[in-house]
Subunit: 277 residues, 2 copies
């Protein structure tokens, strides 16, 4: 998942560990599904399977919220849905603004799930004057000149940034100055924010790179296994990837890498959004 808290790393807020908070939405989703099927109770084992976690972990997570289960029976689905919703603050209304209405911003605006959990898209904002007034997801795009006014008149405290990388920090600064204290960042940049402001980032490019790493490792292990079985006779196998460019004493090996970097530096830096470099 495109994850990444940025600030407030281990701030175990009110005794609930950050790791637990991150799992509560998962439990909530599983519980909501059960609720829709009118299932009255679940055991920690069943719910854990549905949420893709360990049952001991789930029980410990719930223990931070209080003792909402019944021994020998399990957890009351509806009651737990309510408790978790309340704990996450989903029983209240959260107006949200989306800044940067490109492909991604429009996709986010069109997402129907916002309203389903207490989140409400209060405004769509873009810097392009040509976008102003244009309806996206049944809502007129507003120009970023009015950003501060929009934030304040709607009491917005959560902002979503879906701008190109270059615009993200300035937009972030304006959001924060206008009173936003939580930001979800889709732009491929590390945002600098003052204390007290939470930033979470969604970064497709990073996720893909992590997958590529594991993919490469799997391929390597496979190759190793093959080499191990096939070899045993001949000592020298295929040259390992490590040995490709002679590290040298630095100085001009760098030139090679330089060429590479120059080749691929094109589209990054100012792309629409979603995946960072």
């Amino acid at each position: 998942m495109a994850t990444g808290r940025t600030h407030r790393p281990a701030t175990r807020s009110r005794g609930i560990p950050e790791a637990t908070v991150a799992r509560l939405p998962l439990y909530l989703r599983a519980l909501t599904a059960l609720s829709e099927r009118s299932v009255p109770t679940v055991s920690s084992e069943e719910l854990a399977t549905a949420a893709g976690v360990n049952s001991a972990k789930l029980r410990k997570d719930f223990s931070y919220l209080g003792s909402y289960g019944t021994r020998g029976v399990g957890y009351d689905v509806e009651y737990l849905v309510y408790q978790i919703s309340r704990e996450l603050g989903l029983t209240q209304d959260w107006p949200v603004v989306i800044v940067g209405i490109g492909n991604l911003g429009a996709a986010l605006a069109n997402y129907g799930g916002f309203a389903s959990r207490g989140f409400r898209v209060a405004a769509l904002i873009d810097a392009d004057p040509a976008m102003a007034g244009k309806p996206v997801a049944g809502m007129p795009v507003q120009h970023s000149d009015d950003l501060e006014k929009i934030i304040q008149s709607n009491g917005v405290s959560i902002g979503v940034i879906a701008t190109p990388a270059g615009a993200a920090q300035p937009v972030c600064d304006r959001l924060v100055a206008a009173g936003v204290t939580s930001i979800l960042n889709f732009a491929p940049t590390v945002l600098q924010v003052p204390d007290g402001v939470d930033v979470r980032k969604v970064d497709l490019s990073i996720e893909l790179q992590i997958l590529a790493f594991h993919e490469q490792r799997k391929a390597g292990e496979e190759a190793d296994a093959i080499a191990a079985t096939a070899a045993a006779a001949d000592a020298v196998v295929v040259p390992a990837a490590d040995s490709v460019p002679p590290p040298a004493t630095r100085g001009e090996t760098a030139a090679d890498a330089d060429a590479d970097a120059a080749d691929r530096k094109g589209p990054d830096g100012d792309v629409p959004a979603v995946m960072p470099a």
Copy 2:
């Protein structure tokens, strides 16, 4: 950030801790920016600031890759870019398929950053026959009937799922059966996969819920602070959120929550994608 590894939790692959792997793309991006500005070397301190991490952490991360720095000077930017790229497997070509070409899928397809890091969109796949042949991001959408054929003929090992929640697991199963071993999931579902397959998820809804939690906590602390200063005279303050619905012995308190759940269950479950419930 919308993150979340699923399987292979702490598989410290080849001695490189998972947490370090997750930060390498961050360093790489910062280094690429320096490279474009033709900066020859950076200190761990400078680079750490740019990447938004602690310098000790950065040095330790790099120490897992080898000793690529020079004491008293810092790190050679180009050399490090090359080493990290190689470590992440970005020096090779990774064909990727995107399944589910709705708003989000189209946004992803239009993202220009794919090609910039060794990733190449090999195909766009959708289950809607009306989409077949329609060009998106200059590439014709193909019907999901041909999914297996497409995967195999292109040697795809990484798949991106941007379908509605209900379609995600079946699509995942087909991808895996066809040979995909890494999946980036945008659908709001927990995917079940066999051992050896990596799944990462990007889940907007979860990210927003986590932000809401912290937002609520901030508001609560503020209120507490105000209460603490203003009160001191009157013992009973505003009823805490905790006491709103009398927990009762369970049984019909559930009915209240039930009504709530019914109200908000609408748009979830089968939404386009991006944010899960």
